[in-house]
């Protein structure tokens, strides 16, 4: 599956680069493809979260205080539909790109931390995390190409550094807790990205009512 993902990513990149060269592929198709990628990314994160919960029921975690906010919470994103629909295209894309960029490092931390997890199906988790990384990378590349077709505002990428460090904890409970927390933040952010791209897609497809 990882192989397929990388292949899909390569195909996606190739197509997008060709589009950039030829300007033959309309932006609606590009957005369609990007939203498919983001959909897949969010599905992967949801599956991973469920798998983690199935092995480690959150009973123990509830004892501890909930960790602080996600590292991407500083980014101002729309919080309801009206707000979201008022955001211009370029800004939406910029938000999506920023969020995606913010998760490159934390996903690496998750990937390296997966080895130390006391998990029975550790390899499965590891595979899925690596898949997440690949999918995220390919989507980021596609969005970079898309941004070139939009306004200058689309080029803005907000810096959202991850300051959690490489270590996710010492003891088993805290490790699991942090792991779960990071995954939940990622799940939300991937959903944001997906929603923004789908809004953009429908905005660009005004002449194709069947899509939206």
């Amino acid at each position: 599956m990882a192989h397929r993902e990388s292949n899909g990513r390569k195909i996606f990149i190739t197509v997008l680069y060709m589009v950039a060269m030829c300007r033959g592929v309309p932006i609606t198709d590009l957005l369609d493809r990007a939203s498919q990628h983001s959909d897949k990314l969010h599905s992967l994160s949801t599956t991973l979260t469920h798998e983690l919960d199935s092995h480690f029921p959150p009973l123990g975690r509830m004892v501890l205080p909930r960790p602080s906010v996600c590292h991407t919470s500083s980014l101002q994103t729309p919080s309801d539909k009206e707000q979201a629909l008022q955001v211009p295209d370029a800004d939406l894309l910029s938000l999506a790109r920023s969020l995606l960029q913010a998760w490159v490092d934390p996903l690496g931390v998750l990937s390296s931390s997966a080895y130390s997890l006391p998990h029975l199906a550790q390899s499965k988790l590891l595979n899925k995390i690596q898949e997440l990384q690949q999918q995220s990378k390919s989507l980021g590349d596609g969005l970079n190409i898309l941004s070139g077709k939009m306004d200058q505002a689309a080029q803005t990428i907000y810096s959202l550094p991850y300051r959690g460090g490489n270590d996710i904890g010492q003891d088993r409970i805290s490790k699991l807790n942090k792991f779960h927390f990071l995954l939940s933040c990622f799940r939300r952010d991937s959903h944001k990205i997906d929603s923004f791209l789908k809004v953009l897609r429908c905005r660009a497809a005004k002449l194709q009512p069947h899509m939206c």
Partner: protein, 575 residues
């Protein structure tokens, strides 16, 4: 006093409910929270025991990263034991921590808190306006299902992306057949049963959410396209009928005899009597030939003789001539090895053993070459047939410079081992035959009887005869080459013993002389028979020698070429 009673009654009244079972309310549980369009959401809870007292429920929530606790704004809209959050109160991508509190007079009970994010609890309403239409596709009808997304879901702006699914079943069935339609809002269903009644329903699901409820089922009756099906059945029936006919015919043919036998008749194999194919495959030619010889050729019994002979030529000769014929026959027979004779190392080309006493018209023994593997019977028959034909041809053409019609016998009898057999062969068949051509001008003088008794008679030794003048029955000059005159099979060919020292033309056999010699008259000396005696042919017949101008060939020649060794004949037993 009264105050004490009052307080006691009050205490009793207070204490009584405990005794009757009133209790604080049981723990309520939040069953589910759902958002139909990602803009509002509703939460439902299940109340616990009420403790026998009127209990009120309250829902409190706290947003993520905020400590402010709010109470449910709307307990009514969504019905009993529910809380409805409208658009203003709903924030997405924000965790809600929700708790329900049950309160009665005796106390309150909190439920377990639940964390929800609105975007993860989306379950839309069922699709609306499901319409069923019968459409035609080149005469074949199909069903088109069309619907609208739920009213509240905003799919136009892309806020919600819905995927649809259609369920269809026949009215009398129980199981639904589902088809995923993706994001489109219409779907075509083909291959429905003619005249069937169907129920169709649709449901939808957001990209990351829960399936909606099924829409209310719509009923439709598929039209009858019965006639088309009927014509198809007619075609199938006719086709099966033809198949049935063909199968019946095949069975009928097979019952009489094999179809394969009918279509591909077997090729007749070779049927050479005594011919062993295995020997041929082994490659031992000698063995093959010996095998051929071993078989019943020459025919021993008299009964086979008639099978071998094709034609008979009656030859009546006067006594002398008959003797001569017999002698010549004996000569021929004597060519075959007798018991007293020495071994014949002749190659066989002209030896008596080889039966090759016949010279072809062209001087070739073409039969020799192309009949090495024929059976004896075939060989004989063919030879005789050819001779007969040749003889007939030669009836008119008298002039045969090459010496008349003689045929070469197939050289299958050339092996030394054949000598024994060939001896008997010679005796058993009458080989004194003179071609009609040779007989030519005076056929009436004699007729050669190649019947079996005559042969037998002829094969008898004629020692008693003497001075047989055989010149009378030899009119036709013929040349005798080094190979000699070869004996011809049966009827129409005259055969004389092969051999001869010199190639000369001899017109006839003058007589059989003593010392087993056959006197041949030279061509030039036809008129002058008694002039000289050139040669004598050693025939092995014990005859008086008569000085004639004839060449005689000594028996000693037999080693070199064809010869007549009549000496070998006499000792041989007669048959």
């Amino acid at each position: 006093m009264r105050n004490v009673l009052k307080w006691t009654c009050l205490l009793l009244l207070v204490g009584t409910p405990h005794a009757e079972g009133h209790s604080p309310p049981g723990k309520p549980t939040l069953t589910s929270c759902r958002s139909p369009e990602k803009e509002t959401f509703t939460c439902w809870w299940q109340p616990g025991t009420d403790g026998g007292l009127p209990t009120t429920y309250a829902l409190y929530y706290r947003k993520e990263n905020s400590d402010a606790v709010y109470q449910c704004p709307d307990y009514v809209t969504a019905g009993e034991n529910s809380c409805f959050f409208n658009k203003n109160d709903t924030s997405i991508w924000v965790n809600y921590n929700i708790t329900v509190v049950a309160t009665n007079r005796l106390g309150s009970t909190f439920s377990d808190p639940v964390d929800i994010d609105v975007v993860y609890i989306v379950q839309p309403n069922p699709p609306e306006n499901v319409s069923l239409t019968i459409m035609q596709d080149k005469g074949w009808p199909f069903l088109r299902v069309a619907w609208q997304p739920p009213r509240k879901a905003d799919t136009r702006s892309g806020w919600i992306t819905l995927i649809y699914e259609i369920g269809i079943r026949m009215e009398h069935e129980n199981e639904w057949e589902t088809h995923v339609a993706g994001q489109q809002k219409l779907f075509n269903i083909f291959s429905l049963r003619s005249g069937g009644a169907y129920l169709v329903q649709v449901r939808c699901k957001p990209d990351h959410g829960f399936w909606s409820e099924w829409s209310s089922a719509s009923r439709i009756r598929f039209p009858d396209y019965f006639h088309r099906e009927k014509s198809t059945w007619i075609v199938i029936t006719v086709f099966c009928f033809f198949i049935f006919l063909i199968v019946t015919w095949l069975l009928h043919v097979n019952s009489h005899r094999s179809v394969k036998h009918c279509l591909l008749p077997p090729v007749p194999g070779p049927k050479i009597k005594g011919f062993d194919q295995q020997l041929l495959k082994n490659g031992k030619s000698e063995a093959i030939f010996s095998a051929l010889v071993v078989s019943d050729f020459p025919p021993r019994s008299s009964s086979n003789y008639e099978d071998l002979l094709v034609e008979y030529l009656e030859v009546y000769v006067p006594e002398e001539q008959q003797v001569i014929l017999e002698e010549s026959k004996e000569l021929h027979s004597s060519c075959f090895k007798s018991e007293s004779s020495t071994s014949d190392s002749d190659s066989g080309r002209g030896s008596c053993d080889s039966h090759t006493l016949l010279i072809d018209k062209g001087g070739q023994s073409k039969e020799n070459e192309d009949r090495p593997v024929r059976t004896e019977d075939q060989v004989e028959a063919e030879d005789w047939e050819e001779e007969g034909s040749d003889a007939k041809e030669d009836m008119g053409g008298v002039d045969v410079p090459s010496g008349g019609r003689v045929k070469t016998w197939p050289s299958v009898f050339t092996s030394p081992s054949d000598q024994q057999i060939s001896r008997e062969h010679c005796l058993s068949d009458s080989m004194i035959m003179i071609t009609e051509g040779v007989l030519g001008p005076d056929p009436s003088e004699f007729s050669l009887s190649a019947t079996k008794p005559a042969v037998a008679q002829l094969c008898k030794p004629v020692k008693s005869r003497s001075d047989i003048n055989i010149s009378t029955f030899v009119h036709k000059p013929w040349s005798v080459d080094s190979d000699g005159v070869r004996p011809v099979t049966e009827d129409t060919t005259a055969f004389l013993q092969p051999f001869l020292l010199q190639e000369r033309d001899y017109s006839k056999v003058k007589r059989v002389g003593a010392d087993n010699t056959l006197l041949l008259q030279r061509l030039a000396d036809v008129a002058d028979v008694d002039d000289c005696e050139d040669q004598t042919i050693s025939t092995g017949i014990d005859l008086k020698t008569t000085p004639v101008c004839m060449d005689s060939i000594m028996p000693g020649q037999e080693a070199t070429s064809a010869y007549v060794d009549t000496a070998a004949i006499f000792p041989m037993p007669t048959h």
